[in-house]
């Protein structure tokens, strides 16, 4: 029975791979992740080693993207900035899922007044400006990347909780859930085997879109000095430094900005493609 079930799942992968937009964005993101993991091997120079003889050098054969105001190679810093953005976003979204998914499942499944209350809290939390709240939380926790990403995840969790709750409310009344209950299934089994698999597709789309938002948030916080702390490399931090020298070395603002833009674009594009591919109304495996 397992072999044939696997075959059905492969069909889904085939559809994903045949969508150009999904394929391109997925390839880009995988490449970015590989870069993040292999940074020490790929980067030509150290990202923090300062060389005052090579300050603000424009792009050239020795330094492909030039150097910054204390002589650090921009390309290397760009590469070393990838882990912060990639893993930071993943961590933030993981936090959002770890909080939002159970809350949404519980509220939607239990229903009644508890669900009403949780729904109200979620809606109220969603009206808080995200970044401001994240800044506040980071300030209180202590300023570093992990805390900042945790704050972002915390602030994003109501978004996920609302989606999961809405989906659960619909699915829990489906006839196959009733049929399983009739066969004697307990709550755990109903939630894990019947509700969760049938709400997971829109959740995956939302997670992908949240990854884009988390990436931009990390860049913003690092730019403000509330995320990755210098001298460690981060794309937002690089932009902050480049800002100070915009007049004399304008090229510095392009590499980190384009890096952030392309990564966010890739996540968004993947999310949009997945939304269409995983749409249950056109679900034909």
């Amino acid at each position: 029975m397992n072999v044939k079930a696997i075959r059905a799942r492969r069909n889904l992968w085939r559809r994903i791979l045949s969508d150009k937009r999904a394929l391109l964005s997925l390839a880009y993101l995988l490449g970015l992740t590989a870069l993040a993991v292999l940074a020490p091997l790929v980067a030509p120079y150290s990202p923090i080693e300062q060389d005052y003889s090579q300050v603000l050098v424009p792009p050239g054969p020795e330094h492909w993207l030039g150097t910054d105001d204390v002589g650090r190679d921009i390309l290397s810093r760009l590469i070393y900035g990838a882990p912060a953005s990639v893993f930071g976003s993943l961590f933030a979204v993981a936090v959002a899922v770890a909080i939002g998914l159970p809350v949404g499942l519980f509220a939607g499944y239990v229903g009644g007044r508890i669900d009403d209350l949780v729904g109200r809290v979620i809606d109220t939390l969603l009206s808080f400006p995200a970044i401001v709240l994240a800044i506040g939380v980071t300030g209180a926790l202590g300023i570093n990347l992990v805390n900042a990403m945790f704050a972002i995840g915390l602030v994003f969790s109501p978004i996920l909780a609302r989606l999961v709750r809405a989906q659960t409310l619909v699915v829990k009344n489906e006839q196959y859930v009733e049929a399983a209950r009739c066969a004697g299934a307990g709550h755990t089994r109903l939630l894990c085997k019947h509700v969760l698999p049938n709400i997971i597709h829109p959740v995956i789309v939302q997670i992908t879109l949240l990854l884009a938002a988390a990436l931009l948030a990390e860049a913003s916080l690092s730019f403000l000095g509330l995320g990755v702390q210098p001298p460690a490399a981060s794309w937002g931090g690089m932009l902050a430094r480049a800002y100070n020298y915009m007049e004399i070395s304008p090229w510095q603002i392009y590499p980190p900005g384009l890096a952030i833009l392309s990564a966010a674009l890739a996540f968004n594009a993947l999310g949009e493609s997945l939304r269409i591919l995983l749409d249950p109304t056109s679900d034909r495996r």
Binding site: Y176, C182, P197
Partner: protein, 339 residues
């Protein structure tokens, strides 16, 4: 005369609270009946009659707000929750919509196997073997076990549902409009299958439907339900030949008769009006707003649930007084029927 009934319902009612109204909706309002082992009990009603809710009460998917449910003399709600989950396996349901009752993300075989997985009594290979045997018995190629529900036809899905209901060797199966969503040609096949299975496994059926033809064919006893209450209950043959309640008579008259019009003795009775909203049922007898025989008494007094023969019960002030489908008065009163 009878053994202990397998299913017994005593004055059961199911009330649903309504938003913005103090009055709850009385989906099931004081229903009593008993089903013997190996019997087929039919429940007929229009949509909104509460028959599906009643079916769900029988398999413990819906707890009655009032009254009692007894399974072989035992009130299932007196059992602990773990015991109840085990007990439920004996009372299964085949749902109406074959598309919706199978988890779209699970292979069909896994769905059929699920009751066995929950029971946890057999090893994995034994369970798979039982699934194969069940699927073959209901007329499905075992290969289909690997497919997903959207790859099967409606008839095949419904057979899978039946296989699933059978997997734990239940004592009783409630079929809630089990064939309503199928093509007519398939309906006959599935009904025949159900009849065979009943013989083979000694099953008790409760057949809920709006289709009088289907129900009268296969049931031993039939109950006619309207707006949450039983109007008439009796052996299928008796109800078909000598229905005493005007509603039953009207329903029967609507059945297609294979005779040219000139030879037909009964007139088609078209019931006036719409079925009233369950939120606001008529006072007295619920059927009075559409009943050709209604009088002031019907509005003032709820008709009692009275016996009109061995195993024949009616709730009507004028039970058997006239046949609304047959304008001429009855020549002889029906056995035991007294106005």
């Amino acid at each position: 005369m009878h053994n202990q009934p397998l299913i017994e319902v005593k004055d059961a009612s199911v009330l649903f609270p309504v938003q913005g109204s103090r009055e709850p909706v009385r989906a099931v309002d004081g229903v009593s009946f008993a089903v013997q082992p190996r019997e087929t009990f039919g429940i007929i009603g229009e949509s909104g009659s509460g028959k599906s809710t009643l079916g769900r009460v029988i398999v413990c998917l819906q707890k009655p707000t009032g009254g009692t449910l007894l399974h072989a003399g035992q009130d299932p709600y007196e059992l602990g929750s773990a015991q109840l989950r085990r007990h439920r396996r004996d009372y299964q349901m085949v749902f109406q919509d074959p598309n919706a009752s199978l988890n779209p993300r699970m292979p069909v075989g896994a769905s059929v196997r699920e009751p066995l997985d929950i029971e946890g009594a057999m090893s994995r290979s034994e369970r798979d073997a039982r699934v194969v045997a069940l699927m073959e018995r209901v007329g499905l190629h075992p290969e289909l076990a690997y497919r997903y529900p959207h790859e099967l036809s409606g008839g095949q899905k419904q057979r899978a549902n039946i296989a699933r209901a059978l997997s734990c060797r239940p004592k009783a199966i409630v079929c809630d409009e089990a064939v309503a969503a199928l093509d007519v040609s398939i309906q006959a096949d599935v009904l025949n299958l159900l009849a065979e299975l009943q013989e083979e496994f000694g099953l008790t059926y409760v057949f809920v439907s709006h289709d009088l033809g289907v129900v009268s064919h296969i049931s031993d006893n039939v109950a006619v339900m309207y707006l949450g209450k039983f109007m008439e209950l009796g052996p299928a043959e008796t109800l078909m030949k000598t229905p005493l309640h005007p509603y039953t008579q009207a329903l029967l008259s609507a059945e297609p008769v294979p005779l040219p019009r000139s030879m037909r003795t009964k007139q088609r009775v078209i019931l006036e009006g719409e079925i009233p909203s369950p939120l606001n049922p008529p006072s007295g007898c619920r059927f009075r707003t559409r009943c050709p025989l209604a009088t002031e008494r019907c509005a003032a007094e709820v008709p009692a649930w009275e016996r009109h023969g061995p195993d024949h019960w009616v709730a009507c002030h004028y039970a058997g007084a006239a046949d609304v489908a047959n304008p001429a008065p009855r020549a002889a009163a029906a056995v035991g029927a007294q106005p």
